[in-house]
């Protein structure tokens, strides 16, 4: 599993957040979040211990843990082999590793995603 880069905003695995999460920097999330995550122009990484129950809007999304909610990524979505995703994905590009689990729709939009 890839470790978060230094200088990256991080939510550790013992942290639980309920509500609206927004920001203007990349985020590495290894804890629990319920609600919504908005990181327009930036990337979200759900770490292997991450458990997200939220709608996600970001430039890029990488999932190694669990994500339940719809994902809108203006650039790219990556599901790593340990990813468990339940929800619809709308993005320009998607990469799914062997072993990843997805229950939901994949919709590729070449234009900007709103």
């Amino acid at each position: 599993m890839s470790a978060p880069a230094s200088g990256l905003a991080q939510i550790g695995k013992s942290v639980f957040i309920k509500g609206e999460l927004s920001g203007s920097e990349d985020l590495y999330l290894d804890g629990q979040v319920e609600g919504s995550i908005a990181l327009k122009g930036n990337s979200l990484t759900v770490g292997p211990n991450g458990q997200v129950k939220a709608s996600v809007e970001a430039k890029g999304v990488v999932v190694q843990g669990k994500l339940e909610g719809n994902v809108q990524a203006s650039d790219r979505v990556e599901l790593r082999k340990s990813a468990i995703v339940t929800g619809d994905i709308t993005t320009q590009r998607i990469s799914i590793e062997e072993g990843a689990y997805l229950k939901g729709k994949v919709d590729i939009h070449r234009a900007d995603v709103k």
Partner: protein, 238 residues
């Protein structure tokens, strides 16, 4: 036994027989599919189709359809059917799976939503109590004129016959890979946790033509393609 059957297949291999490609880690089989070939003509000439893949999550299949401008939904019903919370007892006290609970958590889509549904080998491996309810739900989520492709064994391949996942690698070509279950918990829309409780899926039954016709009796047409690898492909139209 598997090497004997493979040698037989090499002798009698037809256009629909599987070919083995040794691969690092796990063996992959390549299979020609007449049913897939017929379906390919549909999506190669149409735009913005809505496709439902009921097999294991397949990046290959997702790429195949999104690359052609279609939308694809992925829902692994076999794995979902292993949720221990589905276990219940019928009127005779026999342990069965709760089909109502299963359909509350799976295949939740608007009516007449899909143009194409890939069942793959689902009916052969799905628990008896879920087969008819699932087919009934699939009928309702298919658009009129929508098509469904399913594979059925033509003879009993034994309890150890592997359950495969299918990847579309050509207009009429599939790559088959044996399914190995992950022991992971996942939560469905109703909060039910799905956990794989077995190490693999066992062949539940062998349908004959009459059984298949009865299963899909609400569909307007049914077409059979018989392959030399003892698989009967069935293409039905809603």
């Amino acid at each position: 036994m598997s090497s004997v059957s493979q040698n037989f297949m090499k002798l009698f291999r037809g256009s629909s027989g599987p070919e083995t490609i040794p691969e690092q880690g796990s063996q992959k089989l390549i299979r020609r599919s007449s049913g897939l070939g017929e379906l390919s003509r549909v999506w190669e000439s149409a735009e913005d189709l809505c496709v439902l893949d009921l097999g294991s999550t397949s990046a290959t299949n997702i790429r195949h359809f999104t690359g052609r401008g279609h939308r694809i939904y992925s829902e692994d019903l076999l794995t979902a059917s292993t949720d221990p919370e589905l276990l219940t007892k019928d009127e005779q006290g026999v342990v069965v799976l709760d089909s109502r609970k299963f359909l509350a958590d799976n295949l939740v889509y608007p009516a007449a939503h899909f143009d194409v549904v890939f069942c793959w080998n689902l009916p052969d491996y799905l628990d008896e109590s879920l087969v008819k309810p699932v087919v009934g739900r699939l009928w309702s989520v298919l658009k009129p004129g929508g098509m469904l492709l399913a594979f059925f064994h033509t003879r009993d391949a034994g309890p150890d016959s592997p359950c495969h996942r299918f990847h579309i690698v050509g207009t009429d070509t599939l790559e088959m890979k044996k399914i190995v279950l992950r022991r992971e918990a996942r939560r469905g829309p109703t909060g039910a946790v799905h956990t794989a409780i077995t190490d693999g899926f066992q062949l539940q039954r062998v349908f004959n033509n009459r059984h298949i016709e009865t299963l899909f009796r609400d569909f307007v047409s049914i077409k059979f393609f018989l392959a030399r690898d003892n698989i009967r492909e069935v293409l039905v139209v809603r």
